[in-house]
């Protein structure tokens, strides 16, 4: 390739969100000594500014969609959808972080810089069109989030959380990468569309080899999205990590990992779909069942939400099992709805938990409706959405997923999935009953008044949940137009 073609302006525009996030993250660390003396909130403001700029850049880049850097990146509707989603999750993570960090005397530039780097990695992941680029994005995102999970480094639980996340995350990466090596060896390419072409072409490689590769990559990705039987790390990691970070981990990296899951399996491995469908079918059912039944037994709310997030990963896998464009669109819609409701729910936990995160139990939510009606009302919206009650995003998410599954004749999976949702209603309702029908607990009585950042962190996702529930077609139509990944 001639040097003059190496970088052209269009490529840079398509790569702008990642550039902005990386520059802003580095700037935060460089400016640390100056800003630290002025105001402890400056870091938060600056990273919000960076995220807002990246959000605008993502939308701007979509005005002229297409490949960048010789086909290594692909900026299409799918990539833009997930870029906006992960950047949005970043904004909703920083809002409750102001108060959380102040409460723990832990306001540093690193927290925000790492968050921005992690989001940059996720943006790269979702727009990558090549397995090695996906791997790099995945690692940029993961390595930054390993540190974030252990950010409160004197806290034993945070240490443990970071260690487990790191060990199991790297283990999963090993599997994913070995799968990439096999794909490279059997097809001679790592470009997603070229792999698709090689698998359908006249000299198609041995199906055994490709099958092993797909299985290895499935294991790696299932770890990353915390799908059963590779979900064991999630409860400990989510419980031990600082709550705003938990909110981030349960939505951002997960959505990005699902994005590459969809892109790889619906593009590259689409020709061998009959082979991987039973694998994903089993994992979907197992995730829903394990997640929901284990959540019934939890008394710690962060742990409960961790198991619930495993169950929700199962629902998204149902959409993947449908292996149709409708299924892909349903998965995209669900991940958006899930991001709003889950980040919102964790923001409430972050608000209530107090210094040292003492109050994390279901009992601590007792009487919250009496003491802080607004917080309780917002949490009610999130919980109803997690259950899947109509007029919330969670309802339409489930509705579209099971509709897509039925259209692909997955009757049993749909029936078992719906039964699972019914089981799930129990543990979410338990939290609601606790909030409204019990005498106020120590935690609810001592809860601080809502700060501006926290109010925004609760009201924005609540609005998002309701908008997705009342006007689902706005998002669904865009998802539907972007869901045809095989080009």
């Amino acid at each position: 390739m001639p040097v003059s073609n190496f970088v052209n302006p269009a490529d840079l525009v398509r790569f702008l969100p990642e550039i902005i996030l990386t520059v802003m993250g580095t700037l935060l660390m460089v400016l640390d000594p100056v800003l630290h003396k002025r105001s402890s909130y400056a870091f938060g403001h600056l990273s919000l500014l960076g995220l807002a700029a990246a959000l605008v850049a993502s939308v701007y880049a979509f005005r002229d969609p297409g490949p960048a850097f010789g086909g290594m990146l692909m900026v299409d509707g799918f990539a833009t959808f997930f870029r906006v989603l992960v950047i949005g999750v970043g904004i909703l993570t920083i809002l409750p972080s102001y108060r959380f960090l102040a409460r723990h005397d832990a306001e540093t530039s690193e927290y925000h810089a790492l968050l921005l780097y992690s989001i940059a990695g996720q943006c790269l992941m979702v727009s990558a069109n090549e397995l090695i680029m996906i791997f790099l994005g995945l690692e940029i995102s993961s390595i930054a989030s390993y540190i974030l999970a252990g950010y409160l480094r004197d806290d034993k639980r945070a240490n443990e959380s970071a260690l487990k996340y790191f060990l199991l995350g790297s283990f999963a990466t090993g599997f994913f990468l070995y799968g990439v090596a096999f794909i490279y060896g059997s097809t001679g390419t790592v470009n997603l569309t070229s792999v698709h072409a090689a698998l359908t072409g006249p000299n198609a490689p041995s199906p055994v080899f490709v099958g092993v590769a797909a299985a290895l990559m499935f294991v790696g990705l299932a770890f990353k999205v915390s799908a059963a039987p590779f979900q064991v790390w999630a409860p400990d990691v989510y419980q031990g990590a600082p709550t705003p970070v938990t909110a981030f981990l349960s939505a951002g990296p997960k959505a990005a990992a699902f994005a590459i899951f969809l892109r790889i399996f619906m593009t590259s491995f689409q020709p061998i779909a009959n082979g991987w469908e039973p694998l994903v079918w089993g994992s979907a059912l197992l995730s829903m069942t394990i997640g929901n039944f284990a959540a019934l037994l939890q008394s710690n709310v962060k742990r409960l939400l961790a198991y619930s997030s495993i169950a929700h990963a199962g629902y998204v896998l149902v959409a993947l099992t449908a292996r149709s464009d409708v299924g892909t669109a349903a998965a995209m819609f669900y991940l958006a709805a899930y991001a709003f409701m889950n980040v919102g729910a964790f923001a409430v936990v972050s608000h209530l938990s107090g210094r040292g995160e003492r109050y994390q139990n279901v009992d601590d939510f007792a009487g919250l409706g009496q003491k802080q009606p607004l917080t309780a009302a917002m949490l009610t919206i999130f919980l109803l959405s997690l259950i899947g009650v109509p007029l919330t995003g969670g309802f339409f998410g489930k509705f579209y997923i099971f509709k897509a599954a039925l259209e692909s004749h997955l009757v049993w999976l749909t029936v078992l999935g719906l039964l699972n949702s019914a089981v799930a209603a129990y543990y979410y309702l338990r939290l609601l009953v606790m909030m409204y029908m019990h005498e106020p607990s120590e935690a609810a009585t001592n809860a601080e008044p809502l700060s501006f950042g926290l109010s925004a962190a609760l009201i924005l996702p609540a609005l998002g949940t309701l908008v997705l529930g009342i006007f689902p077609s706005w998002v669904l139509e865009f998802a539907g137009r972007s869901s045809n990944l095989v080009k």
């Binding site: 260690l163 090993g174 490279y184």
Partner: protein, 102 residues
């Protein structure tokens, strides 16, 4: 030219990868577990180089550099995390690190 058949390299790589997985699952010292992960990544590197040689392409060689850089970054972060765990608990036995349950 090639005295050793390609399949031998691939077998070696698979064996090393399996050793890494076994080490990860069965060893109790955190440092050893971490080394097992590095072993897995290096097994992958060996496959990349082998495939690259077989395909007469340069790409696979380049991928190993990416993998090495990522592995180095992972080592830096991982060892730092392991150090803080040791500082707070004075143990490196993975079975002792289970403070979170109901």
């Amino acid at each position: 030219m090639s005295a050793v058949p390609i399949s031998w390299y691939l077998t070696l790589s698979a064996v090393i990868f399996a050793l890494g997985v076994a080490g990860f699952l069965f060893r109790h010292n955190i440092i050893t577990v971490f080394m097992s992960i590095e072993l897995m990544l290096n097994a992958v590197n060996l496959s990349f180089v082998t495939f690259s040689y077989q395909l007469k392409q340069v790409n696979g060689h380049l991928f190993t550099f990416f993998v090495m850089v990522v592995a180095a970054a992972e080592a830096a972060v991982g060892l730092a995390i392991i150090l803080t765990v040791f500082k707070n608990r004075s143990t490196l036995n993975i079975d002792d690190i289970d403070s979170m349950k109901n």
